[in-house]
Symmetry: D2
């Protein structure tokens, strides 16, 4: 019953925690029924970066920003990188987009028409070129490709074309770059999705080579899926490239990570740690991918990175020696009890102290609320077109 | 193994089959990722009605069109009714919309703010007024109300306010009118939906009175839900007001009814028949509610009503006397075999003959393709704004 | 960030927490693949009661024991009651069993054969008679009735027969007794279950009368179902009779309550409190219904009642005034933050103090481990047949 | 609308259809709540084989019988093989069992205790030895290994031990033999299953070598999983070893294949054909794995193989040239229509003719009912212990 205490060793792992923010989290998003706008929403990529930098300033947890092409296309990426650096953040993962052009209605990298496939491939080559200019390491590919009706597409043929298209793209991935392939159970395709599960992503990236890996989005699984198992498995196989963090009750709800099931996030982070994903030499990239449909966006991002930090801290509290002993003794309740003891411990006071010691606000949510930033951007960002998934 | 043959009695029930088409099925729809436009998409409610009338002309199955307010708001509903009558169809159910105004971000009939609730109530009173002008019988209420995060709303209080708002609306429902309350498992709310299941809709409409009933949308259930059970139960309780037909593999996919699981549609229609829902005096209204995201819209609607007809015809083939005998004998495989025998019978030739006898095209899909209608509307409907969920 | 503190008021509600233990939790249970036996498993109902009393002695949370007929049938229930009282516990809910006789293969209260229905009705009358002798208040009915194949049974007819059978049983329910009807999504029936959801149970018990209510088993829902919503709704409708607590990742896993998703248990207890379910005059009965397939049984029950207590304590920490204010202000993150603040607070030290103040062990799990009880029953309970679902 | 006609080519593929029957399908099975016995249930493996041979005699579809060790352990496998041959069937897949010994409570091939792992490995070596004597090609491994509570086991460590154990077993697999590894979403483990998905099975068998492949049980997936996609993917990867056919509405319901969703079975068989799984040189083995809990067992098996045959025949009717053309034209409804046209065609008369031409009964279900076999075994098989999962 005595709560665990974080050891110095564990603290040092917590220092490795860095969570990339997606630029599009600061724009408007919503459901197919309605997208609500809010005052102060960024109109430009620079404004998105400024918002992301605010999250990092208050939390010390979010040192980089992912871009989405074409939503974040600019003329001068070097200048954009300098702008970001001035704000204290780096440019991160480049996300491609092959789901909003009319040509992609029936697929992109999997399309039966070679012309459309080439267009989609070329888009990825553009992304790789941008990566060179931004210094980004990862090209993240999430495909909307799939079909809505049985018979609409040739499942097998689409998979073969996917492999061919990916191979072409992979040839352009630089020595220090990676291609990460995201999977998703369903949506927007309603019958068959071309990369629906980790097995498919794993099989595809394994065929590509060492610089290709899987991206695990925590909201992209069938009901009941044990996600921490997949985390453990992909780490074991050396193919867990990155995370897209969010949470869900039903489908790809894209809620704030940890909001729907904090215990699940705890279990996931426990397996990340167990598999070396927080080690200094880890190549697992952590990123948020969420939609703040009804809540404020910047504090939504702050809440998100704090949730990851809190659940990581709790996971670091697990007394792994005692756990192993209980597991080997077949002591089910003992092992579960050791595990839960860490989860049930309130780490917030410890984390607040830790923040204060680093010159960060003890309570980043309150600090943001009191900062006047929200009022300031609402006053300044008037006119123009608020960013959303469409722009 | 000898296939059943439709008896004269069964044929007469098939004549009672009438499926209302939603005006919005002819506009563009899509996912939160992309809405694809297509040539010939209606710009006005009159063009939607013309398309719906085309479906009815070719199938004889779709004698009425449901309207959505405000999407289908016009100045003169009497004139709209005459326009529809000229096209051979009637105006049907009026569907309200309380999910696209900014005020409804946190609820409509359930909102904590009385002003917002009153606005939503007033919208429904406008709908009832329109019903008077169109001669519509049913006011259908589907609410997007709900919350995305635990703690965001007071579940219990929202339910009480819902009851109060519905009671106010119900007072204005005329003697020959009905209020039908649709339920939905989730979306757009991601944590808690205020009318998430048939039990909630049933409890709410029962509290209202005799002219309130449940609307069952076949895509609005949790994974694995036995929908035909709910059909049987609501018919038994006298509270099955209407159907929104569509099909799904995952969530509220809004695919063509019968496309995902024709056997399920067969089972549903079997219970409809079993419970008297196709009888001459039945008050169960059948309607489509689908999204033709990637397929052509008019043939999509034709395919849909044909699917309902085909599965209804198969369901009518069940030898119910033999089935009852097998059930009472505890002959599991025998009973199942009798049931499946009807499902496995190809009714299409019979239905084609029946159509021809009524002066309808034997193959409505082919008749549409050869009619030149698609080409004609693509040529004529140029300029303007294509209808979608937004307009 | 400042953790809430439990107010005196809240503490007093915590004193109302009483969780009934099922006698069968102390017997062996398992899956269809294997039932593992363990040393010390009770052979008699008296030994089960002794184990349950041990849980109560160490936790002060479990003052009564539910019986299952015929598993716990004895000749002299008055004597059994005295035995229980000597152990410090009372006899509670009587659970009927209509799923293990060969006659029930195709149903019990819903069977097409009147003789079988009467046998099942008579069994319930016997249970009511036992209730008179044990002073039990609740007759709990869970039915395995259902079908495995489409067509096997007449869904509608079965529902009508269920209503008739229940009405007959209800006539024998005494003035101070209740009939509680449990629902279950599926299992052992694999296609159609006759009481599959709360709506069906609600409709059936409402038809019976005031002394009939719904039993909500937390593991008996479709994937993704929002259980706290159902809790709130049934409390609102005045028909939440009782809980069967357990937890699940997949189906009716019957794991220790709170083990799979402690946050869900917190949300459920919040709605119980919100709806008056912990008030002094509440008629909501709390009970465990779990299977300790691989873990030790007695500490499994201790862990379970502690989990309910801990999550109830956390739920009592919610600052409801602040929560209401945030909800009314549309402050999504603020409201969620207030809610989560309570959940994230470690209540264990407070509860340990509270226990000590009442003369209970501060750490019941440790107290049990050190008590020697497990070793004692393993030594004494040798020979005979270990209790299980079969006996 | 003109129904397709089976071409000679397609017929020849239908001749390749051979479905292995599991010996245990003829024994009693059930749920954790109750196992119902029936007159005539086999007491010995010979009686099981006799029943299986009856299915084959009436359908011509089931030329082999899978054995389960230890349930079907005999002293003289050569004699057993001769007995089977006399009945017109061969002995097929050997299924191991590491889920019913007390030592396996916490795992078998994944257990932390080397002694238990070795015991489980040795059991598989015994199975391989039996394969040598029976001439069986496949060793099928389904593991119940997993955990019920978070923290109970080390997910990663268990996976590593699984790999090591499998590698040891694989070393003994002969040149003409295969190891097929089955995956299952959950049950009997309720939190974490060690081989929960096709990705895990694929990664494990790929590490073993060419003579290891995946077994796909159609009932072992998360809700909503697109199984035909997995079929297509595994065929593409060359790792689809075998099928365990059954169907389900909820979990691993083990219902008659095709009973829950015949359209899904059609889609699965379409992908089997598409990927060469019915070709003469195919190495994909088809097998049933079902539980006849409430229905008669022998006709249950007959119904099952007929369902596979019927859906295969329908799948062979798909006009693949027209389908490809429609797919390439982006004609969603056209492609779906071609696909559905085949599914909606009643193939039963054609198959009856085909059977008659081969000297088989046109209606195997009726032929069985009229054969007197059921009455005969009920009369003869008196005394002894009916076979079940336990023996």
């Amino acid at each position: 019953m005595t709560p665990n205490t974080m050891t110095t060793d564990n603290f040092s792992l917590l220092d490795n925690l860095a969570i990339e923010l997606p630029s599009w989290a600061f724009g408007n998003s919503g459901t197919r029924f309605k997208v609500f706008g809010t005052p102060g929403t960024p109109r430009t990529v620079e404004e998105k970066i400024a918002d992301a930098a605010t999250v990092n300033r208050l939390t010390g947890l979010a040192p980089s920003v992912a871009l989405h092409i074409p939503w974040d296309r600019v003329d001068d990426y070097a200048a954009l990188g300098r702008f970001a650096a001035d704000q204290g953040v780096a440019l991160g993962t480049i996300n491609s987009n092959t789901f909003q052009d009319d040509e992609y209605k029936f697929g992109s990298l999997t399309h039966t028409d070679k012309t459309v496939r080439q267009k989609a491939i070329d888009h990825h080559l553009e992304c790789i070129e941008i990566m060179g200019q931004t210094g980004s390491q990862d090209l993240k590919i999430w495909l909307a490709d799939g079909t809505n009706y049985p018979g609409q597409g040739d499942i097998r043929g689409r998979q073969d074309r996917l492999a061919e298209s990916l191979a072409t793209i992979y040839q352009h991935i630089g020595e220090d770059q990676r291609l990460v392939l995201e999977y998703k159970f369903f949506e927007p395709a309603m019958y068959m999705t071309d990369v629906p599960d980790w097995g498919t992503s794993y099989a595809q990236v394994t065929a590509l080579g060492e610089r290709a890996a899987v991206c695990l989005d925590t909201g992209h699984h069938a009901p009941g899926t044990n996600i921490e198992f997949i985390v453990a498995q992909l780490l074991r196989l050396g193919k867990l490239g990155s995370f897209d963090f969010n949470s869900r009750f039903y489908a790809d709800d894209d809620l704030i990570v940890g909001a729907a099931d904090p215990f699940q996030l705890f279990r996931i982070m426990f397996e990340v740690i167990r598999g070396g994903g927080l080690d200094a030499d880890s190549t697992v990239a952590l990123m948020l991918d969420q939609c703040h449909n009804v809540e404020e966006k910047i504090p939504g991002q702050i809440r998100s990175v704090l949730n990851v930090q809190e659940m990581t801290a709790r996971a670091l509290l697990v007394d792994t020696d005692a756990l192993t002993a209980a597991q080997e003794a077949g002591d089910v309740l003992g092992a579960n009890g050791i595990f839960m003891d860490a989860f049930y411990t309130d780490v917030r006071p410890m984390l607040a102290e830790r923040r204060a010691a680093k010159g960060l606000p003890a309570d980043p949510m309150r600090a943001y609320a009191e900062s006047g930033y929200a009022e300031s951007i609402a006053a300044v960002r008037v006119g123009g077109t608020q960013s959303s998934w469409g722009a």
